[in-house]
Amino acid sequence: MTLQLKANSDAIRDALRRHGRYELFHWTPAARLPSVLEQGLLCRRELEARTVAYDAHGYGRAGKEEDFAGFVCVSFLPSWGMMRRETGPLAVIEMPSTIAGIDRSFYCPDNTARNDYEFDEVSTWTELEHFEALFAGPNEWKLSNLQAEVWIPDGIPVDFFRTVYFRSDEDLQDALRACEPLAANLPRELNFRVKMTHFPDPDYEKPDDLDWEEIPIR
């Protein structure tokens, strides 16, 4: 996997600093972690080429996932909405936000799965102005939408992984045992850490209709 930076990657880097955003996240079922640590985060097309098993997700309209099969999705916040659908233990991988400067990456200010976005259009949003559209303002840390996404072509090598987060110590220890055979051969030191706030609350139930007056003010 060869990585090349965009011609304007310095400008992207400056923008990241200006917005105070230093990390990007990708979540995966914890059971997939050994494979991810062995091969890196691979796009669907690459997984198929290497005959690596994966869980297929629906992605908006039928067949839309095929359009994005050459890219990996990362976001500034771990995507709780998608994670809620999973039942098993999960892992959230933290990477430096500078990967947004990899050549051909594109930026979507919202959840790309929405019907408003089609690959042919979104994949052309590769410039600084499109990147700036992810944020609420020119110097804002806040995102224009919490589901804003960055799409990286082909995949992300393990070298870029900094920390893997788990919901509980139990999940962490299970993952550690599963990853033990690979641990010595990782290209660099990697942190494992428990951080509950990266994961959706398992007991959370989305109310049908929010009644603001009934929510106590703490």
Binding site: R13, L186, V194
Partner: protein
């Protein structure tokens, strides 16, 4: 909770209080606290009694920032340096220099620090000590090697060399290393050790630097210990100290050091036990006035006043006395006349700022500190480094290509052709504007030369005051040079 390691996987403690603003609060407290205590203690650095302050336009005790003046340039070329309220001395200058040398992973670019920062610091140094000045001069030579920056220098009537340089000039600048490695004790230790060795070769200086860095690093972590537990833990750590000879740079340094008449390891053990007993004495004297602790530590004696170990222990004592109140600590530190008030104050101020957080630092002082915004930027960067989230060091100036000679600051200073409000270019600091230019004639009975001082506000955020001396005598009237004596010819014929 002990750290769990499997191959290259390191299990970190569960993340709880690592919100960026919480860390920033303490890092900014440490940086601003150190700078304020330095600025407040600078006027009294060389005063032995209250009357000495009158000559500088000050009154004892010092309780607020005021404008004052300092005589510099020696006996024959005395000049007056007008110092504004909130101006800081070499302690904070070198702290900022070191911060600029810190990489995003918490290591220090020692070569850049030695050959760039130290080299150009000589032009704008304020209140610099003899050792650091000699080290900076030597480090700026083309062939110098930061790993063994051997030099000789004079202190009073004594000729000293690098191996004997045991002053507090290394410890005083060490806070960025501690702040950048708040969660990485091993890296903090090795980097503090190596950076101290760039300017000082004596175990006292290196020990002072690493102990200060470790004390500050521990205080950054929060209020989970009492003062007694903090000191007891620190002493246990001090007793276990060994030179970090696993590091190849340190190993090289030790080999070179041991080429001298003494063996470093023996001296190291001796001074580890010295600083441990000094901390013990400081604890015993906790109920006594601070002056008594300073006296026992040798902080009033000209020979030991600036010692690396004594200064750090004095700063610890000052922190233990007044650590609950930054204002009281800074004022107390500045008014113990006869001691190294700015350095001890700066170190204790950093510890207190880290402990209490920026919120406890009086705003009336912080607001008029020179380079307030830049200090905040440095704190922001070090916060990100400590959380290992920094992308790159953006504290350095972006230096454009070399402009024509009239725009070059150092050349213009040499020619004394400096104009107020005009932009100039500096090879390390980039573009800046002269915000104040002053000129003075100097000489004991009659003017012997002219000194021009220019305060330059650089675009990257720091303000520096440069000065240059130019003899008033035309070159022809200067003392004729002694002709070079010819070397005697060797006669080979018999």
């Amino acid at each position: 909770m002990s750290e769990q390691v499997v191959g290259k996987i390191v299990v970190l403690e569960p993340e709880q209080q690592t919100r960026r603003d919480v860390v920033f609060e303490r890092v900014a407290g440490a940086l601003m606290g150190g700078a304020i205590a330095d600025a407040l203690g600078w006027p009294t650095e060389f005063a032995r009694k209250p009357e000495d302050l009158h000559a500088a336009g000050l009154r004892y005790p010092i309780t607020e920032f005021t404008a004052w003046h300092k005589r510099t340039g020696g006996r024959f070329l005395t000049r007056i340096d007008n110092i504004q309220p909130g101006d800081y001395s070499d302690d904070t200058q070198l702290t900022l220099s070191l911060a600029r040398a810190i990489r995003p992973d918490g290591t220090v670019e020692h070569e850049y620090f030695a050959q760039q920062e130290l080299r150009y610091w000589l032009d704008y140094a304020r209140g610099a000590g003899a050792t650091v000045t000699a080290a900076a001069r030597n480090a700026s030579r083309t062939r110098s090697d930061w790993r063994w920056n051997y030099f000789r220098f004079k202190r009073g009537k004594h000729d000293l060399d690098y191996r004997g340089a045991g002053a507090n000039g290394a410890a005083m600048r060490m806070s960025p290393v501690a702040l950048a490695n708040a969660n990485d004790p091993d890296r903090a230790y090795v980097e503090a050790w190596k950076n101290a060795a760039v300017t000082h070769g004596h175990p006292r200086a290196i020990l002072g630097a690493v102990v200060f860095a470790e004390a500050l690093r521990r205080l950054l972590r929060g209020h989970d210990q009492t003062a007694d537990e903090f000191i007891a833990d620190l002493r246990r750590w001090v007793r276990s100290l060994r030179p970090p000879s696993d590091d190849p740079d340190v190993r090289y340094w030790l080999t070179r050091w041991n080429e001298g008449p003494e063996q470093f390891d023996q001296l190291w053990a001796e001074y580890v036990s010295e600083i441990d007993s000094m901390i013990g004495r400081a604890i015993e004297l906790r109920s006594q006035p601070l002056e008594e602790t300073y006296r026992v530590l040798g902080c009033f004696h000209p020979a030991t006043k600036g010692s690396g170990t004594a200064s750090v222990v004095a700063a610890l004592a000052l922190f233990l006395h007044h650590g609950k109140n930054f204002e009281r600590l800074a004022i107390a530190g500045a008014n113990i006349l006869g001691s190294d008030t700015d350095t001890i104050g700066a170190m204790a101020g950093s510890m207190c700022g880290a402990w209490l957080g920026y919120v406890e630092i009086p705003e009336r002082w912080a607001a008029i500190m020179a380079d307030y915004s830049y200090l905040n930027r440095v704190a922001e960067y070090l916060t990100l480094v400590s959380m290992r989230q920094a992308l790159d060091n953006d504290l350095r100036a972006r230096v454009s290509s070399i402009p024509p000679p009239p725009m070059r600051l150092l050349d213009a200073m040499k020619r004394q052709d400096i104009q107020d409000r005009r932009p100039y270019w500096h090879p390390l600091f980039g573009t800046g504007r002269v915000i104040k230019a002053e000129s003075q004639n100097v000489g004991l009975r009659q003017p012997r030369g002219r000194v021009v001082m220019a305060t330059v506000q650089f675009e990257f955020g720091q303000t520096c005051k440069f000065s240059s001396f130019l003899s008033l005598k035309p070159p022809s009237e200067e003392r004729p040079r002694r002709p070079k004596r010819k070397a005697p010819q060797m006669r080979l014929d018999i």
